[in-house]
């Protein structure tokens, strides 16, 4: 009896499922998967004489090489840059959580009418352009002597990505049943305990979702390290950009990108697993 109910419930027919999942899938296959394969292929090709790529199939035989990957593996400095990028992204993500949490909490607990305004105020900074906001930091940090330093890069990265943490966290916190906290208080739990044992665990899916939206884009950024950072502050994104735009060494750039994507996919899988944990509206703890 229960199974039949289950079937009927998730009972949208296969036709419906494909109708819903189909269009986005088709779009992304065309504009994402296929181009991605092109890049994978590019990482195995030889760089063209004037830049670009040599043809991969010539007179019936393959012109592919592992040269780019060999170069990356031959010097530990690339691993160092990867590691540094991961550390910076991790640091910025944690700072985002710390800054976003009180904000998301306050908005979630505000009277309904005010919430849209408060969320609006969070999103509004995005109305200004990324580059101008970075430039504003240049104005602020220049006289303070903090420009072209790691601090500037972190500040810029956190600043640009903070709203990405606030929104999913808010979406999660908003659904917490206040009765839970009430119950915890009645059972004698202090505010910190209430946070630690009730709110925080329930908000984890929101944190995972927000972290995915912050951590991963940071890894690919080059504009902020380029404009705000010093000579030693480049991240993986800068390496890739330079490979394509300054050195015209496309196979190397493609190989770097593939390496980065692999690292990031692993992290994304972790994040997805965390986010899949349901946040039950009724409040039953997982």
């Amino acid at each position: 009896m229960a199974e039949r109910r289950e079937e009927r419930f998730a009972g949208e027919s296969r036709w419906t499922r494909w109708l819903v999942a189909g269009p986005p899938a088709a779009f992304l296959l065309l504009f994402f998967a296929v181009p991605a394969l092109i890049v994978v292929l590019a990482s195995f090709r030889e760089p063209g004489e004037f830049g670009g790529l040599e043809p991969w199939l010539e007179a019936g035989h393959l012109r592919l090489t592992l040269d780019a990957y060999r170069f990356l593996a031959s010097d530990w400095i690339y691993a160092e840059i990867f590691a540094r990028s991961l550390l910076v992204a991790g640091l910025c993500t944690m700072l985002c959580v710390v800054l976003a949490y009180p904000l998301a909490w306050v908005i979630a607990r505000s009277p309904r009418r005010r919430r849209d305004l408060m969320i609006l105020l969070v999103v509004l900074p995005f109305a200004s352009n990324l580059l101008v906001r970075v430039y504003a930091w240049i104005i602020l940090l220049g006289p303070a002597g903090l420009l072209y330093t790691p601090f500037a890069v972190v500040a810029g990265l956190v600043y640009v990505h903070l709203p990405f943490m606030v929104l999913p966290l808010y979406a999660n916190l908003e659904m917490h049943d206040p009765a839970l906290l009430e119950a915890a208080r009645n059972l004698g739990a202090g505010p910190w305990t209430r946070f630690r044992r009730v709110t925080f665990p329930l908000s984890l899916p929101g944190i995972y979702a927000g972290s995915a939206l912050v951590f991963i884009p940071i890894l690919g950024m080059f504009a902020i390290p380029e404009l705000l950072g010093g000579t030693g502050d480049i991240l993986v994104g800068n390496l890739i950009k330079e490979a394509f735009l300054d050195n015209r060494d496309w196979p190397l750039g493609a190989a770097l990108s593939i390496g980065l994507t692999v690292a990031v996919l692993a992290l994304a899988a972790l994040a997805a697993r965390g986010a899949r944990r349901r946040a039950p509206a009724t409040g039953a703890l997982p």
Binding site: P47, G48, E49, F50, G51, G52, F71, D75, I77, Y78, E80, I81, G142, P143, G145, L147, Y148, L227, G229, G230, T231, G232, I234, N238, L239, E242, A243, F244, L245, D246, N247, R248, D249, L252
Partner: protein, 355 residues
């Protein structure tokens, strides 16, 4: 939500309405290399519109073109980039009949090594890559401003740590290092390039950042005291600082060891949609009065003989812009390398960026 979507769609359609068809010249140029006034005069004369895109490094421009950016009518590459473009067959031969003012070009700039007979290019302006600096600060610190040592030697650098920027260009920076070490920029000896690379890596921790154009502002504001950059940009920084009544002045000097001279040229890509407009623009810029703008308004060296009478004397006398014969002897022009050398240099550049 249901009501919103059609509203948004309408808005999108309204905003995306195509502009009325007009003659547009697509110019791909260095930043700060042609003044608005000059463009306005041209637009009035040809009754067309000029749309400019910018780049701040030849490599960047070549990379964008290689990646398939089509639609430019006119590009302004430096000599070595012209060489590269000709070699790959990307340029459209010029129709000399449409360039009556071609005779205005100074004879020493005609028939260059990178384009014998000027089949594809017409020289536009020249710059020297040199060192710009905050005059008062350098004086108070007692630092020499006429040598590359200022940006390469730790004994000087430690006094201006974090206040120096260098060009984000492998040709320019490594070229400057080679010149400082007494080698030619066209040198093919890998050992010499390794030496240059080590010099750069040793100096790198003292530099604030790599910058191709933000140094103009940084110098003018006072955040940066020494910058490796182009003479016309230094001129601009000097004027900006003056206009903003900053308590210091910007100076620029060609280092005594020598420097890179860049001659930038108009070329028309094969895929140009409006070669006719491109030719008109080139001819317009070949007229003496218009060519003079390059020096008067931009502060770049002039390749046009007919422009000389129109150039302000203080600019004509500026050694960083119009190098006197003594300096000219020390200036070198970069040539395009072959693929193998280029790859070696790129790998070297990557290493410099990464260490």
């Amino acid at each position: 939500m249901k009501r919103l979507a059609p509203l948004l769609a309408l808005a999108a359609l309204a905003l995306a309405a195509p502009a009325p068809a007009e003659d547009v010249l697509h110019l791909y140029n260095w930043n700060n290399y042609v003044s608005d006034e000059t463009l306005e005069r041209f637009e009035a004369q040809c009754r067309c519109r000029v749309q400019q895109d910018y780049y701040s490094d030849n490599e960047e421009m070549l990379a964008k073109l290689e990646a398939g950016a089509v639609g430019y009518d006119l590009i302004v590459p430096t000599g070595n980039a012209v060489e590269s473009l000709i070699r790959r067959g990307a340029l459209r031969p010029l129709d000399k009949a449409e360039l009556p003012h071609l005779a205005n070009v100074k004879p020493e700039f005609l028939d260059p090594f990178y384009d014998p007979g000027n089949r594809y290019s017409v020289p536009y302006a020249s710059t020297v890559t040199l060192i710009g600096y905050n005059v008062e600060k350098m004086r108070s610190l007692g630092l020499p401003t006429d040598t590359w040592a200022l940006i390469f030697e730790p004994r000087y650098l430690k006094r201006i740590m974090g206040r120096v920027t260098v060009l984000n260009s492998q040709h320019e920076l490594l070229g400057a290092a080679m010149i400082y070490l007494g080698h030619a920029v066209q040198d093919r000896d890998p050992a010499h390039w390794e030496e240059a690379k080590r010099l750069v890596i040793r100096a790198k921790p003292y530099w604030a950042t790599f910058s191709n154009s933000t140094y103009i502002k940084d110098l003018a504001i006072g955040n940066i005291w020494v910058a490796h950059g182009y003479s016309n940009d230094m001129y601009r920084a000097r004027e900006d600082a003056k206009a903003a009544r900053r308590p210091f002045t910007i100076g620029f000097t060609t280092p005594k060891e020598g420097a890179v001279l860049a001659v930038d040229n108009f070329v028309i890509p094969k895929t140009a949609p409006r070669p006719d407009l491109a030719h008109r623009f080139i001819d317009f810029m070949l007229e003496g009065k218009n060519a003079a703008d390059v020096s008067n308004l931009i502060g770049a060296g002039n390749t046009n003989a007919a422009a000389m009478p129109y150039i302000r004397p203080e600019i004509a006398a500026e050694p960083g812009i119009f190098p006197p014969p003594a300096d000219l002897a020390r200036l070198q022009m970069v040539r395009d390398f072959d693929a193998a050398m280029r790859r070696r240099l790129s790998r070297m550049w990557t290493e410099i960026k990464v260490r």
